[in-house]
């Protein structure tokens, strides 16, 4: 048995994983990154439109600060987020972007003087200040009070991932490419590495580490129509679930992006609408103002996607031979703007649709896009159940997104959380409990167990096909656990997925190819994907309310009285056929921003008795404090700085000397 030892093992080579790796490396730890693909090909590269950070340099962002970013994010989450974590995030985002600026990301910059912009379907001229010239600019995105999405044309994630990867290379961090973690090695209390399969040779190797970090992104591929890369199968979350100890948070919170191109589901950025693009129906009527007069096309993604599907269901879609869809119109932005600020969008339209978006409409329909749920962690990114296990980025439920993530907050989370979790892992490795005391025989047991599982698949003559079962799972999820959900169809989905899970045990192989063997890969991933799908479907079935992206037709109201709860799914025994679902309360009495109306979407919700109590408490606290600045007020209501690593507690400076 081959064993590789390291201080920190990071599973996943996207933005979050690499930033965490760099942080731990800087503190003197040995770090290894595992990645299914070359790190620069990770799905982080697909982020197009921007990264949210309240720099407030350009005119549209003037006056922005952490308070506004915090409030937008909490409202976006439909009060499902952990507010401490949102505060940490909003405070860190400007630091993350400035670090990346120093590391080489060519952020688009403010150009002084007059500019023509498109807003609400009309052109208008704005004048950028001399003082802001050359600082990082930002564009408008959904659900935000300010223009806060900092960007690099519409290749933001690509530019960030390349700068990050290059820094990781400079730091000498090895990336073991084309490797897959198959199981976490643990003794029921302490995680100490993973059994890893080399996807080129098929060989199994044990990696033993003081700290192990899941950074494998989302699980969009359990759906049929998804903007996600095909590697986004949630394997990191699944192996955490399979420990029987670690829990997954809010798995039913799944985001659908309004503008996947139809029918392929490839993303075109929210920046299209942020820059002034419109949504049109089959009659080329702009319908969003009819539903959402406040934010129109720029309400949060859950709201816009729901309105789009509602409009199609009412018979206003455009039809094509692939089915119904709507139109995204960016013609009004003009060819110059599209050629410089939306060039990836232009290429996607050209190659996949054969159209020029400067003169033609883009067919779009909502598609699965983001997993708010993931490995539940505390504010420092560590699993509360399994010591030594950390998670970061989309794979984690750190819980800054609650039940709906705002556009541009995910790439921001990857880097911010990476900065925090990198430090947390370094602290852990330096502590007494971080020392690795588990024996190699434990690693050997886990490695043999995984080898046996693979042999079982290879020897299986049950006659089921992974391809067929995967397709059925994806179809079930898209049809029954999508944007509109109800008890009846969710129950059908749970039943169907359980059947598929049973059948998945009988999947065999047609080819015995050595080396890469893609058929074997599909076969061993399937049961893990089905477990995740069951967590999503069962969590959705049990949550008898609507919150953020989780919408129940039979329970259309947000119900704070019963559901200020975070769902925790676990899988205690391997032979279980359903996840165990528990809940963790969200305490309104600790919230800086008690629940209310989001400023868009439905206005009716069932209030929790604590909401009024907490509001009164807040009002009293502020009145008693007398004259205070915004930082003092914030500290009074919900202190959070102590949760951050010492080095990141200082204030962010802004243009004109404000903080």
């Amino acid at each position: 048995m081959q064993i590789i030892y390291t201080d920190v093992l990071v599973i996943g080579g996207g933005l979050a994983g690499q930033r965490a790796a760099i942080g731990a490396r800087r503190r003197g730890n040995e770090v290894i990154v595992l990645s299914l693909v070359p790190a620069k090909r990770s799905h982080s590269a697909a982020a197009q439109g921007g990264m949210q950070a309240s720099l407030g340099n350009c005119l549209g962002g003037a006056g922005d600060n952490e308070d506004l970013h915090f409030a937008d994010t909490v409202r976006g989450s439909d009060w499902g987020a952990d507010q401490d974590v949102v505060r940490m995030f909003a405070h860190m985002a400007p630091k993350a972007i400035r670090e990346l600026a120093a590391w080489g990301v060519p952020w688009s910059r403010v150009q002084r003087g007059e500019h023509s912009i498109t807003e609400d379907g009309k052109k208008r001229t704005v004048t950028e200040d001399d003082a802001a010239h050359g600082l990082i600019t930002s564009r408008n995105f959904g659900g935000t009070a300010k223009w806060r999405a900092c960007y690099v044309s519409d290749g933001t994630g690509h530019a960030m991932l390349y700068a990050m990867s290059n820094q990781a290379i400079a730091a000498g961090i090895p990336v073991h490419e084309r490797t897959e973690a198959m199981a976490l090695i643990h003794d029921g209390q302490r995680c100490c590495g993973a059994v890893v399969r080399n996807l080129m040779t098929g060989e199994l190797i044990a990696y033993m580490a003081k700290a192990t970090c899941i950074a494998t992104g989302g699980f969009g591929r359990i759906y049929r129509v998804s903007t996600n890369a095909i590697i986004n199968e949630g394997m990191g979350a699944a192996i955490a679930l399979e420990t029987g100890m670690a829990s997954l948070g809010n798995m039913e919170a799944v985001q659908f992006h309004p503008t996947g191109i139809f029918p392929a589901g490839i993303l075109v950025t929210e920046g299209c609408r942020g820059d002034g693009g419109l949504l049109l129906d089959g009659n080329e009527h702009r319908f969003m103002p009819d539903y959402e007069p406040e934010k129109r096309e720029l309400a949060s993604r859950d709201v816009v996607s729901r309105r789009m599907e509602q409009h199609i269901a009412a018979g206003h879609g455009a039809s094509s031979r692939f089915g119904e869809h709507l139109w995204l119109d960016i013609r009004l932005l003009g060819a110059d703007h599209i050629n410089t600020q939306l060039r990836e969008v232009k290429e996607i339209c050209q190659y996949f649709l054969g159209i020029d978006p400067a003169s033609e409409l883009i067919p779009v329909r909502p598609a699965q896009h983001y997993s708010m749920g993931g490995v539940r962690t505390n504010a420092h990114g560590q699993s509360p159940q399994l010591q030594g296990l950390f998670a970061v980025g989309e794979a984690a439920c750190w819980d800054m997104h609650g039940f709906n993530r705002l556009g541009g907050n995910s790439v921001a989370e990857t880097v911010v959380a990476g900065m925090i979790v990198g430090e947390a892992m370094a602290d852990f490795c330096a502590s007494a409990e971080g020392q690795l005391q588990l024996s190699t025989s434990l690693a050997d047991d886990f490695l043999r167990r995984e080898a046996r599982k693979l042999d079982t698949i290879a020897d299986n003559s049950g006659g089921e096909s992974a391809v067929e079962l995967t397709r059925l799972m994806q179809q079930t999820m898209t049809e029954k656990v999508g944007i509109f959900r109800s008890g009846e169809t969710l129950q059908q989905a749970v039943d169907a997925l359980q059947q598929l899970h049973l059948r998945a045990g009988r999947v065999g192989l047609r080819s015995a190819a050595r080396g890469p063997n893609p058929e074997l890969v599909a076969a061993y991933r399937l049961p893990r994907m089905l477990k995740l799908a069951l967590c999503v479907a069962r969590g959705a079935l049990l949550r008898t309310e609507s919150r953020g992206a989780h919408f129940r037709e039979d329970f259309p109201q947000r119900d704070d009285r019963q559901w200020m709860q975070r769902t925790l799914a676990s899988w205690p025994a391997a032979e279980d056929c359903l996840p165990t679902i528990d809940y963790e309360p969200l305490n309104i009495m600790n919230m800086e921003l008690p629940p209310g109306w989001r400023g868009y979407g439905a206005r009716d919700y069932i209030e929790h008795p604590d909401t009024a109590k907490r509001q009164l408490q807040i009002d009293t606290l502020l009145a008693e404090a007398g004259a205070t600045d915004r930082h003092q007020r914030q500290q009074l209501l919900m202190p959070f700085l102590h949760l951050l690593p010492q080095t990141f507690r200082t204030r962010n400076q802004r243009l004109g000397g404000s903080e």
Partner: protein
């Protein structure tokens, strides 16, 4: 309004160069698969259909399937390109696919571009070289940059390291260690970046020889085949003039 133009559907004959180095019995051979073309079918769709319905062992690489990650470079009817965004309707019925030359073969259409690119990155030190990068004052306002310069940098940074320029390069086929357009483009990108403190003498150390900028024969295959339409030939010519001046 119709979104996607229709064309009569055909039976495609896809010939794939197959070889699995992990299998001692494998020898390189061409295998032909037939399949019914579908509406707006890409090679991503076609290859997956073949693997699902005809040969589960067929190896190939896709990640984003949207033309942005650079995983699926292969030789398509003799020319390097990204398979995920190649529509079958733009190709004849007979399609021949081969792995990108110049890279270690993993199996069939899967090649190890990742290892090659990491090697180039380490060799050419493709990162911003500046003092104090691990102690950046992240509280302070960022250093301003001319908007136009930021745009120029992004223009060069759009490279997705797909390897098509290496497969299209005469020199790379003769000199295994030639850094190629992908490497030289990186050098021009960091040379242009005021945040990088290296000067031309430093860059000369990295690419001032015939496995660097002087190895280019100006056949222009790189620029012709670049899926991102990067101005590679111009960049190389410019860099060569600068390096001659050192």
């Amino acid at each position: 309004m119709s979104t996607i133009p229709v064309k009569a559907l055909r039976t495609l004959k896809i010939r794939v160069l197959r070889h699995n180095p992990a299998d001692p019995d494998s020898t390189p051979n061409m295998q032909t698969f037939e399949l019914e073309e579908a509406d707006s079918m890409t090679l991503f769709v076609a290859l997956n259909v073949i693997r699902e319905e005809q040969d589960p062992s067929l190896a190939f690489d896709f990640v984003c399937r949207a033309g942005i990650c650079g995983s699926c470079g292969m030789i398509i009817n003799g020319r390097p390109g990204l398979a995920c965004r190649t529509l079958t309707r733009d190709l004849p019925e007979d399609i021949t696919l081969a792995p990108l030359p110049g890279f270690e073969l993993i199996a069939d259409l899967s090649v190890n571009t990742g290892k090659w690119m990491r090697g180039i990155s380490e060799r050419l030190e493709t990162w911003v070289h500046a003092q104090g990068l691990d102690t950046v004052d992240v509280d302070a306002l960022e250093t301003p940059m001319e908007p136009e310069l930021a745009q120029q940098l992004y223009e060069l940074e759009r490279c997705i390291e797909c390897g098509c320029c290496i497969a299209a390069c005469g020199t790379a086929q003769m000199r295994e260690d030639f850094v190629g357009a992908v490497g030289l483009n990186q050098i021009t990108r960091f040379r242009l970046d005021p945040r990088d403190e290296r000067d031309d003498a430093d860059f000369y150390e990295l690419v001032g020889d015939d496995v660097g900028v002087f190895g280019c024969m100006t056949l222009l295959g790189c620029e012709d085949m670049c899926p991102k339409d990067l101005p590679l030939a111009t960049q190389i010519a410019f860099l060569r003039r600068r390096m001659v001046a050192v």
